[in-house]
Each structure stands twice: as C-alpha cells, then as structure tokens.
Symmetry: C2
Subunit: 446 residues, 2 copies
C-alpha cells in the first residue's frame, strides 16, 4: 500500500515521546496509589442514552455501529453505543451499577483514552488520555475529601517533568454567597459574566454584569474586585471581608477555600504552585463547592490542563445520591504541544541500558547468557542484532541513545564502554550494574 | 436514573481484579523492556479501507460516526473510521507511516484495547486488552528474532500468576516442506485439513486429507503421524526424519524449530513449559515460518491464549517490504474466565498498606503528617475517613484487606497493629516500613 498519512486529531507519540508519557503516567499512578486510590478501568463505550443525558456536548460523540449489525440493534437507543467523551460519566455509571459491591468512601483513579469528534487544533484532539482521581461517598462525603484530592493532585503535579504548573482554587459557595450577599437576583448569570474575565476587557465584563445579570454599577464593581483577589494563605479571606459583603454561604465557602489553600500552598516546588484565585468559576453547572483549574507556564493558551471540583451529586439512582469530588488531568493535551515544540528531552528512544556486542554470529548464545545475567539485576539489555564491525554496533547504540556497549573478551573477561565518555573498563556480568541515573531514560522539561 | 446493568461482551473488572490485571501488565512490561522492547501506543481507530484489507473478519468491525458528521465525511471511505480489531494492523500501518524515523530492527511492545463486534461468550469479548511484542526489519530480519520473541514471551509467561501455561511451537516451512516432500500437490489444502485435528477424530481428518487434499492413504497416514510428534529438545527432529520424507524446505524448517525449542524449553518453570508440537498450523495465511500457540491448563476450551509467528511481509509500501515476527497475549480473555471462577486470589482491593486511625477530626492534620512520613519511604497510606470508634476504623481496613492500622498515642509515640495477627507494637513514623511481602497486594493463582 502507499505510505499512510497521519489522521488529524489522533496524535501518536514516537517511541521516545512515549517514554516521556509513560514517565508521566507512572508518576501519576505511584502518587495516586500512595494515597490509597484504587485503579479502575471502565469500558470505552456507553449507551448513547447515558452519554447524551447532560445534553451540552452531544454533537461531539462518536457513535458505534457493527458493520453487519442486526436491524433491531440499530433501532434500540439502549443498544446504540458511543465512545465515552470523559471519565466522569462512565465512573458515575460504574458507581451506580456496582454500589452494592463497592466500599464507600470509594477513592479511585482512572487513566484512559476518551474520544470527542471536535474540530482538532493544538491542545484539542479527537482521541486523548485523561488521568482522573475522584472520591465518592454514599449519601454524604466530608469536606476533607476536597482537601485530599487537591493534595494528591498537587503532589503529583509537583513531580511531573513539565514547565511550571499553577493550580488555581476557588469555591462556588464563596462566589455565589458573595453575589447573593450584595443583592444579585440571579447568581448564575453573574457567574456566567465573570467567567468571561480572561477573554474580555474588565469594562466589557462590567457591562455584561449590568446588562445581563441585572446589577447596578456598584454591585458590578464589587464582583470585579472580588475576581481580582488571590493568595497563597488565609490572608485573602481578609481582602474578601474588606469588600463588606455578608452572606452565610460566603462564610462557608471562605472557610472551605482557606482550608484547601492552607493544605496545598505548602506543596509548592519550583515546578508547582497553588493559589486561591477568586476569578475561577468553571462553567459547568454541576460543581457545588471547591473548583480547580491549572495553567502551564508558557502554554496559557491551552486553557486549564487540570480541572475539577466538588459535585453534590455525582450520581443518583433516585433512592440514593452519591456526592463526589475529583480532578482530571489532560495528559495528551499537556504533552502533545510540549513534544511538538521539543520542550521535553528524553535521553533515549528505547528502555535499553546496555548493548552486548557480538564478535560473530556463533557467539550469540554466549552473549545472550551475559545479557541474562545483567537482566537478572534489573538492567535492560539487548544483544546486538548482527555481528557487524564494532564501530557499527556502537553506532547502533548511539543512534538510540543507549549509553553502554558491553564487550566479551577472548580470554573470558568482559569490558563495558560508556559511549558518551568513551571510557572502557573491565566489568563482571555477575555483579555490574549501571549508574542509578542511567537505569531509566532521563525525562526532563527543556 | 435507574441502576444500570452490564453490557454483554464489555467486561469490567472490580478494583481487586484490576489489581491482578495491573500485576500481569506490569510483569509483561518489565520483561519486555528488560529485553529492549520499546513501548508503542497507536490510536484506537484506522480508516475502514485499512481494516478491511484482509477481508476475513470484516463483519466484526465497529464503524464510527460523529453524531453530527458532515455529509461529505460520511461518503468518503478514507475518512470513515473503525475501531482496530487487533494490534498488528495498526502496527503495520505505523511502521509504514514512520519508516523514515524509526531505527530498524524495530522492537516494540504494545498493550491496548481492541474491539470486535462478535457474539460474546466466555473468552470472547467485544472489548479486550491484548499485549503484543513484535520485531520488524527493514527489508530483512534474521532468524534469531524468532528465537528472541519466543524467549521474551516465555520468560514473561513464566512470571504470571496464572494456571500452568504450555507454549506449542511449530514451523510452517517444516510442515509445508513435509507435505511437498511426500508429493502433495496442494500443501495449503493439507494444512487446512490437519488444522482440524483438535476438533475431529483422526479418521475424519484422514478422510479429509484424501477427499479434499488429494492424498492417497499412505500419504494421509504420514501427515497424521507428523502431527503426533512433539518434544522439548532436538530429538523430535529424529522422529520426523524417521518418517522418510525429504525436502529442502523441510530441512530448513526443522533446523529453525530446533533452534527455537532449544532456546525456550530450558525456560520451563512450574507455571510454564514450551514444546515443539508439529500439529500446530495456525489458520492465518500470512505466517511463513515459526508459529506459536499457548494453552492454559484447565482452560483448554479457550483455545490459544498467546499466539503468533513469523510473517515475511508485515507491511509493504511497494518499494520496500518489512518482515516481522511477533506474539500476542490475550490479557482479558485469559483473566476474565479466571476471575469468574475465583481462580486468582488478591489480598486486598486497594493499594493501601496502612490506615492511620483518627482519634478525633481535629487530629486529621497531625495524622496526615504521619501518613506523609510513611509515604516518603514508598508505603501507600490512607488516613481514616472519619473519627469513628477504633473498632469501626479497624473494620474499615479489614473490609478492604488493608493489613495495618496505625495509632498515634496521646504521649506523642506511635503504635502499629497488624490486624491479621492482632499484634500491636511501638513504631516510629520516620523509619517504619511494612514487611516487603505486604508492600504490594499479593496476587496468586488459586
């Protein structure tokens, strides 16, 4: 066949990029599990009736059809399947379906592909990987779960080989209470207007607040001043109080936000900071308390790459309601733009640490035995695919970024060469291990 | 909404089962990488034209449609997408698409979901995970690649927490050469008849060989005798020679099969054996040399759970041909029947090793600090979700199989209780680590 061309919106990573992606996924998994979050994988498909319940993104769903489907299968909406477009809808369905078997509070992480038939552009793909954590309760879920998911994701993000990340936290109760306290009749309309603050000049948002949310000029100004407040400790609460608005919901939201920020701001590293940012609203209707967004330095145009919050009803079967709190990190939408700009450096394109050089094809079994000895202590080893001149075998390693070439000697001894420095030294296959920093490929933000 | 029900053919594992699946996938990955195989993930979709090229399983493909697709998109076969039904077709496409960027021989492993719209039954699902390894060459690929993929998969299978596995190896050149050597006019027809040997009585296969492959009775008997030969060392070759058939292709195939068997038979463990088995043919047309199948003890009705072989042309762009050799392990089709019969025991349903008990809600920050200390040395720790009576907190751990509960004491010291034995001892959060065997959940074949 002719050489195929890439499909727009379906990114595929090179072997070296995949090593970086695996490092990110391994780091996320290790962090999530260290906090006791269990892994879950749901099927890729849901009945279309499930996927379209929220209505808002129906046009983005991929619908499935078996090439030779039975006619009755095609007609039945409960039997028509679509690919899931996020990991929250399938998780909510999984919780309802298995509620009798699960232990609550149920803490799970889920790292899977999702699909959306959107028009592709940078940071927006038709197939992409998400990494979600959620805690879900049976009937009730204490507020400390909000603090915990923030801490877990903050700790994970601080370990990723990415440009600096900034987590922004807010609280829906806080802003709704504020709007109600200053006399807004329609808090949701105020929120929709304030949500445009990153896209429109302040004057335009102010005009919207007056025209569409029914505020007077003073009220609109207070809303804009609230949205400018941010901070990494409890002192932001004083700035909010100083605006003079009072409401019980505002008090509750302020206290919650202070607790989250005091727990995550100390987790700051050179790659991660967390702040209370009172401009963050999240458009989605189902959030009812804490909300999270995250920006990556130099890639602000991607929008938030890690978002979530508290929802009082993740799922409900009529008899019971399951409240939850969760955060979702967009793995593909974070990594693909970084790869495209060469902003993540990977030291090699294979797991291999050592290539065992082959003097002639007849010595392959002996070289495999050396490789097996080295593997037994956790070193990734290949035997050279051919007995070409040693210079060519070294280039085989070099082209892949493999740091060491091993040379069995005629007298039964062995030598190992670091092809970066050229240094070649005697070595014993029953004891040699590579330097710890060479055991895995290095993956660093560039 | 009402409680949802499972979708037939789309298995979802419980948290404990998922821990077992992860252990299997981690073991496969670690083994594959220790031999220098690089991870690859391809997109889930291919143009329908690609998926239907082989023709044979077209009715099983899931076709995708965007809910609000453009009309021209619907008409264009190159733009109509389907979910991949194996990992070989997308890998072949990936190799062609990226041949200019890849280093050959290219050794990759790929662990992903695949989809087939088949009628579901045990061991046959509509969505399932496969784990593939392949080595592909640019124009040529030395035979030792066949030996290597057999060794890698044999080593991996020997480490899996499964009932005993038996890898059966054969060689297409051997059997084709044998059929040609005894005078068969249509070696493919002979192979199709012999391939029924597990399903039909010997007499019936003999009748097929005469009626459909045009053999006489003596020739048919020789074919049946060949198919009964098996062995774990080179001696099987003597049995083949004793049948008195000669052909250059037979010689070549015999030598190759001896080399594979001599390399993998010594990797036998109490959970894994490998044999030359001259009855194995693999139905698929594209195999041209080594072929592999694998049966699981007590689950023979599943058929082969790990299969593959050599194909002289994995892919071709007209100018160049890429030969390959690979093996594919059916992860879901192996695990789901074992889970259904309770044949894999997992010690807990969460990664957590320790629950830090909570005397009162006010001590949560102090308990989180203890948890952070324990996590710093790689222990998975949860703080109790509530300050219920200690008996209830111990039951929280017990219900999940978590082995330890940690008790901060009023005097600032600490104690840790092994809730399996009831033993409670003083412990220091800055140095304590669990016994090595408790660090991860245990996963054992039952």
């Amino acid at each position: 066949m002719a050489r195929p061309t890439p499909l727009s919106g379906f990114p595929e990573f090179s072997p070296a990029e995949r090593i970086a992606e695996q490092r990110v996924l391994d780091t996320l998994r290790a962090t999530f599990e260290s906090w006791g979050f269990a892994s879950l994988q749901t099927r890729a498909v849901e009945p279309m009736g499930q996927l379209l319940r929220k209505g808002e993104i129906d046009k983005e769903v991929y619908v499935l059809r078996r090439l030779h489907a039975d006619p009755d299968e095609e007609q039945d909406p409960d039997r028509t399947l679509g690919l899931h477009f996020d990991l929250t809808v399938p998780f909510a369905r999984y919780v309802l379906e298995n509620s009798g078997k699960l232990q609550f509070p149920f803490k799970r992480y889920q790292i899977q592909s999702v699909w959306r038939g959107e028009r592709p552009q940078e940071g927006r793909y038709r197939e992409f990987t998400q990494a979600d954590i959620d805690v879900v309760g049976d009937g009730e879920l204490p507020f400390h779960a909000d603090v915990e998911v923030a801490q877990v994701m903050a700790e994970a993000m601080g370990r990723l080989p990415l440009p600096p990340l900034r987590m922004q936290v807010n609280n829906r109760k806080l802003i709704e209470g504020f709007y109600l306290g200053l006399g807004a009749a329609d808090a949701a309309a105020v929120m929709r207007a304030v949500d445009k603050i990153d896209k429109l000049p302040a004057d335009a948002v102010r005009a919207l607040l007056v025209a569409e949310a029914g505020l007077d000029g003073d009220q609109a100004d207070l809303c804009l001043r609230l949205a400018t407040i941010s901070g990494t400790d409890a002192s932001f609460a004083g700035e909010v109080r100083a605006l003079g608005v009072e409401h019980p919901l505002l008090d509750e939201g302020l206290e919650e936000l202070v607790r989250v920020v005091e727990a995550v701001a100390p987790l700051a590293t050179d790659r991660f900071t967390a702040v209370a940012d009172l401009r963050i609203a999240r458009g989605l209707d189902y959030y009812t308390g804490t909300v999270f967004e995250t920006r990556m330095a130099g890639f602000e145009s991607l929008g938030s790459i890690c978002s979530g919050g508290r929802y009082d009803s993740l799922a409900s079967d009529g008899a019971k309601t399951y409240p939850g709190v969760g955060i979702s990190l967009g793995v593909t939408r974070t990594l693909a733009p970084l790869f495209a700009r060469g902003r993540i450096a990977v030291s090699r394109s294979v797991p291999t640490v050592v290539v065992v050089a082959l003097a002639d094809e007849g010595s392959r079994p002996a070289c495999q035995a050396v490789a097996a000895q080295l593997r037994a202590r956790g070193t990734a080893v290949e035997v050279s695919p051919n007995a070409a001149k040693f210079g060519k075998q070294i280039r085989y390693a070099d082209r892949r970024g493999i740091p060491f070439v091993w040379f069995p000697q005629d007298d039964g001894t062995h030598q190992v060469k670091d092809i970066r420095s050229g240094e070649q030294v005697p070595a014993d296959p029953s004891t040699w291990v590579p330097p710890a920093e060479d055991l895995l490929p290095s993956v660093v933000a560039g």
